[in-house]
């Protein structure tokens, strides 16, 4: 089950990036890369800030394996995403502003230009962590969108390439931050000027 060096390096790099951005707590979040009928996924309870080769687990997409027990609790969600969408990389983190906003909305429509043009909309879904219900809700949302927020929990972003999944994840949090800031500024008495063309 030895993880290929390049797979480990890629996961380590992006896990460190999301940890440095404060999108995960010490042992939170997970990431995976698909390869044929299997995926490489971060280990349950591993620290994304300090990912070791032993923290990357190979899991079959087709059938359960005894290694599943070592893999992230959200393996079921990653597996469902790969089974239902053509994505090849998935990132899951808990960026605080997206999570906070999820308590107030059923979908997030970015108001910043970049977020609006790329993401269009970010649905908010529900489900118990590690459950099939959550896996299905996330996978269905990712059929139409690049990222999805799980209410009170975190964000799943998926793409064909890890760097793009990372971009989507960052965009979701950035758009959430803009939304939040504009709401705060509105409440402080400033007048909102929406761009004429969007």
């Amino acid at each position: 089950m030895k993880v290929p060096k390049e797979v480990y390096e890629e996961l380590k790099d992006y896990c460190l990036r999301i940890a440095r951005r404060g999108y995960v707590t010490a042992h939170g979040g997970n990431a995976s890369i698909k390869s044929g009928n299997l995926m490489w996924i971060t280990r349950h309870a591993s620290s994304l800030e300090n990912l070791k080769p032993e923290d990357v687990i190979q899991v079959s997409l087709e059938k359960p394996s005894s290694f599943d027990v070592l893999a992230s609790l959200e393996t079921i969600v990653h597996r469902q995403i790969y089974l239902e969408t053509p994505n090849l990389a998935v990132l899951h983190a808990h960026p605080p502003i997206s999570v906070a906003l999820s308590f107030f909305m059923d979908e997030m429509i970015p108001i910043d230009t970049e977020g609006y043009y790329v993401l269009k909309k970010v649905p908010v879904v529900e489900g118990q962590p590690g459950s099939l219900e959550l896996a299905k809700n996330v996978a269905i949302a990712l059929k139409s969108y690049y990222a999805v927020i799980v209410r009170a929990h975190g964000v799943f972003a998926a793409a064909k390439y890890m760097d793009i999944a990372y971009q989507y994840l960052c965009m979701v949090e950035h758009s959430a931050e803009i939304l939040w800031l504009t709401e705060v500024l509105k409440k402080s008495g400033l007048t909102l000027h929406k761009p004429k063309k969007f």
């Binding site: 349950h44 309870a45 005894s66 027990v69």
Partner: protein, 580 residues
């Protein structure tokens, strides 16, 4: 106030007695209760094979409640394998039925002159002749008793290995359930107690039924959300661990000379499922269902093998064939042998054989010879006569003690200590000898439940081992399955105990009970001759044990010689007069 049954096999007298409330509060039940009784009634220097040794079969305050996994019971005695205090927890239904009769424990004293069995139902209890059962395998014994008494009864029994005083003979507590370790079956054999049959139809009282029902909803949900309990154990049983442990290079192979088995895939959970799996089985009220019924290509069927057996009879002996391992396992079950100790002792013989010792004629990977040796050991024939003594005595007899992988005489379980420093410390300090169930560090060093620690670091390991040992002592005393430890801790258990008993338990009070039990076991062992010098690992291993041990003694509040300080014993309410 509880009730107990005391049985004197020498005088054939049976009595029911009230159980002191204070005793139950201080030692809870199960293992704790048994340990206290052993301390009170058996001088530590007593020979395990003597009339003075006792056997305690005890249930706990949670037994037979609607809480999952509460059909278990504990057996306590002085072990013929280690010479120290020994406790073993057993699944199945026996504990459930015993509690339903209304007994907290059965205390067995003395020795019968002829084979007998103990019969218990709601109204009667008596000793019955067991000459027709003597010599029978565990399966045959169960079958005869079931035919005689009916399927409503649950049984514990021993096989020929117990009758022939094999030092690691086990007690079978229902099909596929064993109090496996430490030779408690041989203590039953010495006492000529072939079996106990019990049928209880009562129900223990629950102080807060409604509160318990509410708490159980969440309890069951959490089991169903836990990937180890609900997925790995349910889907593969404990065999899920073979590949996982092998990939971490901690699968004992070739008598611990190696840490990785080339043929692990052939004895893995996946292969077991594909080739020999028949169906899942559960103990009383257990949604996990980690037990496995299997059948080999030759048409033989039975229970297991569990992970420990797949390794002790597989990788340890270089037998990379799940069917062969299963068949050796069936034989051990039928004849009543602990598979870990048997595998460890045969592995030791194989190593000696490789070194050219002429009397130990058994080659690595030779499954057919191993099958023969199971029988020879159970009946103490030929080489089996020495294998029946366990690896420590066996290796010493052949002049090569280093080949025995034991702590305090108990063969090591199937996690190579060199790759899991915390587990290594747990082996070295366990009161019953090398044991993984007294503190299952694999949970935090490999599986990440409830958190993941650096398995090669000694930092914090002594504190974690102490905490886990105390918690395990309480779990064995409540009595619940250790696998619940993958999801629950003392907070949940304290709440459940409060709801069941109506007395207030806190996290702290539970851990203190565990600590009390642990310390009393430690004192007994010291006085039985198992002092600090037995807190060691075989020289083969390269674990930095000494610094961890020093820290462990300090965390426990023990003296540098590993004996509890006066203050520690006093603070736990243990009245131990003389010092060590």
């Amino acid at each position: 106030m509880g009730k107990c049954l005391t049985v004197n096999l020498s005088t054939k007298t049976l009595k029911t007695l009230d159980v002191d409330k204070e005793l139950l509060l201080s030692f809870m039940g199960g293992r704790g209760l048994g340990v206290k009784l052993l301390w009170d009634l058996v001088p530590p220097s007593t020979k395990p094979f003597s009339e003075e040794n006792i056997l305690v079969f005890a249930v706990g305050p949670l037994t037979s409640t609607p809480i999952p996994t509460t059909g278990r019971f504990s057996i306590v005695s002085k072990s013929p394998l280690t010479g120290g205090i020994f406790y073993s927890s057993c699944g199945g239904f026996f504990g459930f039925k015993l509690k339903n009769v209304g007994f907290d424990y059965i205390l067995v004293e003395g020795r019968s002159s002829t084979p007998i069995y103990l019969y218990i139902d709601d109204k009667n209890f008596e000793l019955r002749d067991a000459s027709h059962l003597w010599g029978k395998t565990t399966k045959e014994t169960f079958k005869i008793l079931e035919e005689d008494l009916g399927k409503d009864f649950s049984f514990v029994c021993i096989g020929p290995a117990g009758e022939n005083l094999v030092r690691y003979a086990c007690v079978m507590g229902g099909y596929g359930n064993f109090a496996g370790r430490g030779g408690l079956g041989a203590v039953m054999g010495f006492k000529r107690l072939k079996a106990i049959a019990v049928k209880g139809t009562g129900k223990p009282k629950i102080a807060d039924e409604e509160g318990l029902a509410k708490a159980l909803k969440n309890f069951r949900d959490r089991i169903s959300w836990n990937p180890v309990l609900d997925k790995a154990l349910a889907y593969y049983g404990t065999s899920a661990l073979v590949n996982v442990i092998n990939e971490h290079r901690i699968l004992p192979t070739k008598n611990f000379q190696l840490n990785r088995f080339e043929d692990a895939e052939n004895i893995s959970g996946e292969t077991l499922k594909e080739k020999i799996f028949v169906r899942r089985r559960s103990c009383y009220n257990c949604p996990v269902g980690c037990k496995r019924m299997t059948k080999t290509g030759s048409g033989r069927e039975g229970e297991g093998p569990e992970f420990e057996t797949l390794a002790s009879l597989g990788s340890m002996l270089l037998i990379g064939d799940v069917e062969a391992v299963a068949e050796i396992n069936y034989l051990c079950n039928d004849l009543g042998l602990d598979t870990i100790s048997f595998g460890g002792t045969v592995a030791c013989a194989m190593e000696l054989s490789e070194k050219g010792l002429p009397d130990a004629r058994v080659k690595w990977g030779d499954a057919e010879t191993v099958k023969r040796l199971v029988v020879d050991t159970a009946y103490r024939r030929g080489l089996g006569r020495w294998l029946a003594e366990g690896s420590k005595i066996f290796s010493e007899k052949f002049g090569f003690a280093e080949a025995s992988m034991n702590v305090k005489g108990l063969e090591l379980p199937m996690y190579h200590p060199d790759g899991v420093f915390g587990q290594a410390l747990a082996y070295a300090t366990s009161n019953r000898g090398a044991c993984h169930l007294n503190a299952y560090l694999i949970s935090v060093e490999v599986l990440g439940y409830p958190y993941l620690m650096d398995r090669f670091s000694p930092v914090n390991k002594p504190s974690i081992v102490v905490y886990m040992q105390n918690l395990a002592a309480v779990m064995d005393s409540m009595v619940v399955c250790k696998f619940l430890g993958f999801e629950f801790d003392e907070e949940t258990f304290a709440n459940l105990l409060t709801l069941v008993t109506g007395k207030t338990f806190t996290q702290e009070s539970l851990i203190t009970i565990g600590e009390r039990i642990w310390n009393l076991e430690r004192v007994f062992n010291f006085k039985a001759g198992l002092g600090w010098e037995t807190d060691r690992l075989p020289s083969r291993f390269k674990v930095p044990l000494q610094p961890m041990l020093k820290e462990y003694y300090r965390v426990r509040g023990w003296k540098p010689n590993g004996y509890p300080t006066k203050n520690k014993l006093k603070s736990l309410g243990l009245n131990v007069e003389d010092e060590c």
